[in-house]
Symmetry: C2
Subunit: 212 residues, 2 copies
Amino acid sequence: MTEQDPATPPRRARRVDARRNEQRLLDAAATVFATSGVDAPIRTIAAEAGVGLGTIYRHFPTRTELVVAVYGHQVEACVDVGQRLLAEAASATSAASPFDALLVWVDRFVDFVITKHGLADALGSDDAGFQRLHAYFLDRLVPVCAELLAAAERSGQITPGVDAYELMRGIGNLCVGHETDARYDPRHMIGLLVRGLRVSGTGSPAPSSANP
Amino acid sequence: MTEQDPATPPRRARRVDARRNEQRLLDAAATVFATSGVDAPIRTIAAEAGVGLGTIYRHFPTRTELVVAVYGHQVEACVDVGQRLLAEAASATSAASPFDALLVWVDRFVDFVITKHGLADALGSDDAGFQRLHAYFLDRLVPVCAELLAAAERSGQITPGVDAYELMRGIGNLCVGHETDARYDPRHMIGLLVRGLRVSGTGSPAPSSANP
DNA sequence: GACAATCCGGAACGCGGTTCCGTATCGTTT
DNA sequence: AAACGATACGGAACCGCGTTCCGGATTGTC
């Protein structure tokens, strides 16, 4: 009942020291990432966790997997927020339009990216490992974004044909440099970008949609 | 007459081998940058130029200076294009609006960034050296962008208060990843961003400005 | 308690940036 | 033209970081 695949004979359970070290690594990584960003040297994380280099590579063969393990639940939270916003905007009694929902959600996403040192840079990096990190985050987030876009599109608030993937990627890119450049505030440009989504030529929401 | 500052006794002219090597390095860097991007290993450039590592570091102590030396004239060309567009848009007989001028100029700028492998990434990097590269490009380009923005603003085409520096930086950021991600086309998002500049609520240019 | 599966630690290798200095080359002076 | 500083060159060497690998310790099972 609690077994795995029939083709996977559950030879033995994971050893306790393995589980212990994995937890230590997660804690250490969270600490180090918050302090020095996701580009911190592997050795630093290993030292913080009090384990050897081999250990960290065995548990998390790529930096990506470690980042995902550390931030994964926050990504899921972001997904949840998006779905809640979607439901709210769809409800007949809601005052918030789908476009408003999109605005709020984008803001949440930016919060997430901005509070993680170097995450935006990492996502934008052309390093193969980070491409997978990128892929993971986007696989979860793009569908939500796509739904929000579709809803706003249906209500005639935004110009159709905008690709959710590109939008997410663009927003992530715009976050680059927020902490090394006092003159640059990502939210300004993201605000402009989102404004650019709106249908052009009309100041009012939608002609055909129901509006109180 | 052809001397320098009085406080600078022209001790001796630069040696011919120094000048020769500098030229070789510029040629080699241009080749290597075009092939492998601006992040190519220093050793590669030195090898391509047929010089030692010491030589490249003597002529260009930082990678930034080498990049500037290689691409500097293209930056100047971009400045010139901007000023020409500005003059055209200001001319009474011109059909192009200041906003059109801005559009064209941004497109040129994107051309420049995109055709240089990894330039966008470099500009977005939080590395100290690249911050200066960034600073150099922006010192030249931001004033032009600011003038274009101001002109479009005066004609009532765009929302006021947009900072040229942030816009340039944002556009540069949006270019990141164009060559490692087939699904991402920077121009789509840049188009959206620029659309976001337009005054909201009105589909027509300006109420008070002179319009043919 | 013994045995094998599992896991650990850290030495070791490769790569790239950067520094440093013995040597070669150049321009000038005599 | 020969000698002599000034200048520039080359590349060995060092450091930091990512990654691999394996001898040995630890754990679960019999």
